[in-house]
């Protein structure tokens, strides 16, 4: 459970010459930006570097410079001296790449979450960092790497995504200071923002419109819910995955403590998602009672029945719980 200092981590990166870098499955902007930035920095120092992840990058991160470093398929067969994990609490979070990590001589474990399991030969866990990209920035400075525009773009991506555009409480003075330095290196924040966030589709917007017109609230009980029928997806040309995050619109209403979405995944099968804004309202209990699961603040389940039947059953359960 020993945490290494930044200085020790920098020394490790100086010492070894052959790396594979991976981030967690369903990679996000922080993991992606951080691994790319680290790879560019190590390359500059003449090291051999390969990036490989269990899952491909989401489409909206394709704008990032990657210079052919990312090798998803072949990497899993090869072996490397050092395997670097970015933002994984444990080795299982690294998915298919776990095999490669177990074959490597040394594991370096970089993360900014306190829940980390310290599975590396070197562990650099900094819960004060807004993103693992912030840790990588510190490592690169320690290594004396000049922050060029490619590195800066990747670090900025890590910071802006993991802080919700500098809105979450993990955003520190240091985060803003680093942004100033990244802008000095030539980063164009508004362009990056557009590339990541402004790539919605007309269909997704129309689906959101349908969700909002279905929005209902029980003010007294602080409950809000949206309903999406199969037909809404068909008419807007969208898929189930496009409804991700729509529940947050119900959640963001003042006075709402519990938000629910009812989504008809197919005739007679309804997916419910539950979000709680209060620690003392445990939506996991509701989900468990319908053979689903999750955690206190976010959970889900799949129920058989018509959307109206499911709605009645679930809302009654929630209203009972609140009483």
């Amino acid at each position: 459970m020993r945490n290494n200092s930044l200085r020790e981590i920098v020394r490790a990166f100086r010492k070894y010459d052959d790396y594979i870098l991976s981030t967690h499955n369903n990679p996000d902007g922080d993991g992606i930006g951080a691994e790319l930035a680290l790879s560019f920095g190590l390359k500059k120092l003449g090291k051999k570097v390969v990036i490989a992840n269990s899952d491909p990058y989401p489409e909206n991160y394709e704008f990032l410079p990657s210079n052919g470093l990312v090798k998803d398929k072949d990497a899993i067969k090869a072996s490397y001296n050092v395997a670097v994990s970015l933002e994984c609490s444990g080795l299982d979070r690294i998915g298919k790449m776990k095999k490669v990590f177990l074959k490597s001589k040394k594991i370096i474990n970089l993360d900014h979450h306190m829940s980390n399991e310290y599975f590396g030969d070197f562990n650099y866990i900094d819960s004060g960092a807004a993103a693992v990209g912030e840790q990588v920035y510190d490592i690169l400075l320690g290594l004396g790497v000049k922050i060029d525009i490619d590195i800066a773009t990747c670090i900025y991506t890590a910071l802006v995504t993991d802080t919700g555009s500098f809105a979450y409480s993990n955003t520190s003075k240091r985060t803003h200071q680093i942004v100033v330095e990244l802008m000095n290196a030539g980063v164009n924040p508004s362009e990056i923002y557009q590339n990541i966030y402004e790539v919605s589709s007309l269909g997704k917007m129309q689906l959101l419109g349908k969700a909002l017109s279905s929005l209902r609230t029980d003010k007294k009980r602080g409950v809000a819910w949206i309903t999406l029928k199969k037909d809404n997806f068909i008419k807007t040309g969208t898929a189930y995955g496009d409804s991700e995050g729509l529940i947050n619109y119900a959640r963001s209403i003042k006075g709402v403590n519990v938000a629910i979405s009812f989504t008809e995944v197919e005739e007679g099968r309804v997916k419910i998602s539950l979000r709680s804004k209060k620690d003392d309202f445990d939506v996991n209990k509701i989900a468990l009672s319908f053979n689903g699961g999750g955690h206190r603040r976010a959970s889900g389940a799949i129920l058989e029945g018509s959307i109206e039947e499911v709605k009645e059953k679930v809302l009654n359960k929630i209203f009972d719980y609140i009483k």
Copy 2:
């Protein structure tokens, strides 16, 4: 048309002792944050200050410290030595307060939009500033005012709202540097963000739903627009100010370079807002041609006519510009 230097503006604020401060009608986070911060600073220097605006503050800014400075009704009858305009291109933008401004001995005009009409006795127009709140910050530093938590909270509000949470191209290194200084003064960014953005209402969500069901695109030309009729506000129990930011949903669609919102503010009067995602599409030119203003990436105007007439006129102008 002479622009005063920061130094000259600071000297003016030092000289005079009796102020009324106003921002434009339908005040936004920048105008509100800036006028509150300036008032606190001037008070600290022992000056007499009143804030009065043509329209009340939207509900989500009620969390800001205001210390009883804001007097909407009586202020209009009194007279003041110096009237300070914050973020108004011309005196008409100040609405009902125009009368008071014309009675005052001196007008100080602060704005960060190039389209400003230089109507003041003192004009401090800094188009490099991300927000008028950034200009006020510079003025307060010039006046030697200590930035306390109240001032810092108001300046942060101005910056975060006018930069779309540091995402728009007006965000500069200076903006991020100021945030560091505001955090040094004790500002809590995530709390402010929640106060401003996570206090939606059922009505606002329904208004967004109406906006999205009105969303239309011209894919070939990369144009998207939403339409809000007076009736949409009435049926959802919302006010014009509640439509702020809805244009971003049109803007966020992939392939859209220009987004427009058409909002019927009253029968026969339509407010248009324009957003550009490309520097070479200057929406300010479109706005200016309809006697409006703003800057390259964000501008607006008010047109007379039915919503259908205005829509045809404006869309044709934009389609012509794209050709």
